[in-house]
């Protein structure tokens, strides 16, 4: 077991109870965000995003497949996450850990429920052929708050994803690699993660803060109309009604800080 958090916990809690954070940020202040779009030539969409010292690379690869039977006229979105052993000393190779599955699913839910990608436009032939988008998240450096960093990276990658135009001619699938179309993206979603430590809720937790958290709350907010499109609570300590409403309020009030990096 890692004993450092047990030792540092008291000082971090004390600071937060006095309205301060160890790195000097305000409670609702994010670390610096750097977005590098289009970094993988071989991927149809890609981005690297740095949030503080946390780094995530996302690549989008399309393929053509059969739609699900209950949704024959919509495309398929699949999000997969690898927490690479290079990202932290405690990450191990092997099948996805529960944490990495949760991360992929929370990000996936934010994208899906905000109906950000117009999946109906990804249908090529109803019931037979649709675009399937594989979103692969690669965590390369873990310094806290993978959720928000991964969400920004997925958004940035989707926004520069280009697909060949697909059509059916004489029952044959024809892909026109010359005419690429932008992915039909019609909204954006900002994910804001808070952690509760002591008596305070802080936005964009650092690694140090995440290691001693009591509870965690992620809130996804759409750009259009500020709808809440996804939420996820983690951690062993319950949250009060007011803590949740405050977090939702802050997430809505600060969402544009994220969208300005995605223009």
């Amino acid at each position: 077991m890692n004993v450092v958090p047990e030792i540092s916990k008291r000082s971090i809690v004390k600071l937060i109870n006095n309205g301060k954070r160890a790195d000097g940020r305000d409670f609702d202040q994010r670390r610096e965000i750097v977005v590098e779009p289009n970094i993988i030539t071989k991927a149809e969409g890609s981005a690297k995003v740095t949030l503080g010292d946390t780094q995530v690379i996302v690549g989008v690869k399309p393929s053509i497949g059969e739609p699900f039977a209950d949704t024959p006229d919509v495309g398929v979105l699949m999000t997969n996450c690898e927490m690479l052993p290079m990202a932290a000393p405690e990450f191990e190779p092997g099948p996805p850990s529960p944490e990495s599955i949760e991360l992929a699913r929370v990000v996936d839910r934010g994208i899906r429920e905000s109906e950000l990608v117009d999946l109906e436009k990804l249908c090529i032939e109803e019931g037979k052929k649709v675009w399937m988008l594989f979103i692969d998240l690669h965590v390369i450096d873990y310094d806290g708050n993978l959720f928000d960093c991964a969400n920004i990276a997925v958004m940035a990658a989707l926004l520069n994803t280009k697909l060949p135009t697909a059509s059916i001619v004489d029952d044959e699938l024809v892909l026109d690699e010359e005419n690429l179309m932008d992915l039909p993206v019609r909204d954006k979603v900002a994910l804001s993660t808070f952690v509760k430590i002591g008596n305070g809720m802080v936005l964009d937790p650092s690694l140090e803060e995440e290691e001693v958290l009591d509870a965690r709350l992620s809130v996804g907010v759409t750009q259009n109309n500020s709808y809440i499109s996804s939420m996820q609570k983690g951690g062993e300590v319950p949250l009060t009604r007011d803590e949740i409403l405050d977090a939702v309020h802050t997430a809505i009030a600060t969402k544009d800080e994220i969208f300005e990096y995605l223009e």
Partner: protein
Amino acid sequence: MIEEVFFISSENKQLRADGRAYDELRPIKIKAGVLKRADGSAYVEVGGNKILASVYGPRETYIRRLLKPNTGVIKVRYNMAPFSVDDRKRPGPDRRSNEISKIAADALRPALMLESFPRSMVDISIEIIEAEGGTRCAGITAAAVALADAGIPMRDIPVGCAAGKMNGDIVLDLSEKEDKEGQADVPIVILPRTGEITLLQADGKLTEEEFEEALDLAMEGCMRISKIQEEALKERYNVNG
């Protein structure tokens, strides 16, 4: 005598598909210390290859069967990102990456002075973010810089490069296209101070003379890349100028 043969054949060689001379490397970029959490890390670009390498340790061996009471051990994980190739690669190890992980460990181990760290383990990750031919050599080159960045005592900094045969000519540092269309590929890793070879593979068809020429050319390429590795480490620790 051999040098003469080498010289004559080089005179007759044509420019390659990407405009390079037979003995020209692809553009190469190396940066040391790119990750915060890892004890050592490096980023390498060779042509279209983009590769990250990280090192953790020496630390307590968490795999008991690997523990050695008289020395430290290394474990290498070579992994390709699903989006690093044209058709998405399924995540997780396959036979090819398992083999490369093993030969990469064999290529790096001779340079490391792990005798000073009994019962410990060094974890090396080679992550192919984008692949464009020659990932194993570039990956090992990156891992060597990451090991030095981690401050692990080393006899030398291993460096990798390949030579091969394309349209009948022996050429240096095959691109992805040349690797697919060419007639042979000889990737090597050397310890540049002594010229000892720690990794050697070959596939395709080469005569004895051609193999010798390819080996010499690949070693020459390694020596040039070695200088760039050194520069990257000096830059990381501000010892230039």
